[in-house]
Amino acid sequence: MITQHFPALIVVLPLMVSFIVFVVGIFRVRWCLPLVLTTLGLCVYFSVDMLYRVITEGSPIHYRLGGWEPPWGIEYVVDYLNGFVLVGISVISFFAGMYLKESIRDEALKSKMPQFYTLFLLQVTGLLGITVTGDVFNLYVLLEIASFSAYAIIAMGSRGADFAAFRYMIFGTMGACAYLLGVGYLYIATGSLNMGDLSMLLPKLYSSKTIIVGFVFLLSGIGIKMGMFPVHTWLPDSYSLAPPGVSVLLAPLFTKVGAYVLIRVMFTIFHPSFSTDIYPVTDTLSFIASIGVLFASVLALAQRDVRRMLCYLIVAEMGYIVFGVASANHYGLIGAIFHIVNDMFMMASLFIVAGVVFNETGTSDMDGFKGLHRKMPVTSFVLLIGAFSIVGVPPTCGFFSKWYLVLGMIEAGRYFSLTVLLISSLINAVLFFRLIEITYFEVKEEGAYKIGEKNTPFSFDNLSLYSLIPMVFYASMVILLGILSGTIVEHIIIYALPQAFKG
């Protein structure tokens, strides 16, 4: 049966199609987009099917690559946690792929579309692979694929993007090296690279200095990749200068995948008690994240450039996830996991709005949003929904993850972080209502838009369906995830928690 191979195919298919797209692009550029979309659509199907199977069968799917049994060969594992994240990634990337063509207006970039698609698919490959893999070293290689394509794509952005990409690369390599070092430390102490195997071997060694330092390096490596506070400095530059279509993919997904890896490392590879009882890891993380959230929120307040502001918000949102992880209890972790997926959709909808406005007005400055709602009602409505979700207004999904986070933090007694979370959500409110005020209540000067007055019945906002569908879809997902939150949490996320937190 082909279904049993989905864990491998979901990674291999985009990889193989990326080669095909590369070659086909030399001869027929037109064929690239259908190829890419078909592939990503299949990925969505694969991921949904796998999640469905995990839910119905109630046990994780194991897949042995090369037919070798786990500690010797590489193994893919799909359980509730990464099945859920996989669906998020593949769905987001499908619609980001749809928007990609539309987002590229630059003639110089247009001639490079095939390469663009190739790197886009490689990026998706990397992200999906990181999520699905059950081998720590394989994770490193996939992380590098995702990072490399990210560096290259980011460097294609607007002025200064190449330097931002270079900085990102220095940081990213540092992060990857730290992760590799951590893996080496685990290997020298246990002799294994498989996550499940490691989780079995490690508990005896928790007092070893090697393991502690290895853990620190793993964490700092992941921290760099996910843009955690003291090492987030690469993030705002690179994501805000990247081409708009790409930041829709990169900004929501890359950091969230990092957060996923963080949860895997802390609670799957290591037993939760390692970071809660034996060493004060969660306390430290929570403290660092608190400072980071404050810092990022304040800096976001200082930005006039919308995309840059969103980038700082990402840093803050990563801090939220870390809060959830660091509370290390039932609700906190539910919040963290739920927030990973929620934040993907929230950020995707906001970044796509920023991208569309950037393409239409030529700037992502806040002034570009002046009086936007008259010209682009749908776009401004999507902005509204995304903003509400980040602020945490109930029917949208942002509220629910925040609710679980608050519950978890109260239960863990982390009142400092809780205060920070609340202050930061207040700052978010200020930020977004400033933006909404500009969008809805300020009048634009004449000639600020390139949009014509064309008003055909099936054209909203003068955008083509390639931008409209993703935008509306992301926004509706933000609401849908909110409404279905109870079901999702009850049927998926609870089972995704580590055994210690199931209670």
Binding site: L15, F19, F22, L65, G66, W68, P71, W72, G73, I74, A108, S111, K112, Q115, F116, T118, L119, L122, T125, G129, F137, N138, V141, L142, E144, I145, F148, S149, Y151, A152, A155, M156, D162, Y185, Y187, I188, A189, T190, G191, S192, L193, L201, S208, K209, T210, I212, V213, G214, V216
Partner: protein
């Protein structure tokens, strides 16, 4: 970055690393966990299972062949990236 900060961070990293070496198994010891858990199978079974005497090749290409595929893809990614970033049309 500020030199003093960098120096401090470097020293901290160095101290951390040296601290960790205290618990390392001695260099070259045949009894370290790294050589005992997974790798014996590669050495003992490579001929039997793959007919390849070079254990490195058999691990690289078969036992952990999946890693190698991505390794090659990394190279490919780099190639495409460089091509995209640098190359431009003759008349562009």
């Amino acid at each position: 970055m500020n030199r003093t900060v960098a120096f401090f961070v470097t020293m901290l990293t160095g101290l951390l690393l040296i601290y960790s070496t205290l618990d390392f198994p001695p260099w070259g010891s045949p009894n370290q966990p790294g050589s005992l858990h997974v790798s014996p199978r590669y050495i003992e079974k490579t001929l039997e299972e793959t007919k390849v005497p070079n254990a490195v090749t058999s691990v690289l290409a078969d036992y952990r062949g999946y890693d190698t595929m991505f390794e090659t893809s990394v190279i490919f990614t780099a190639g495409v990236a460089v091509m995209m970033l640098l190359r431009r049309k003759k008349d562009g």
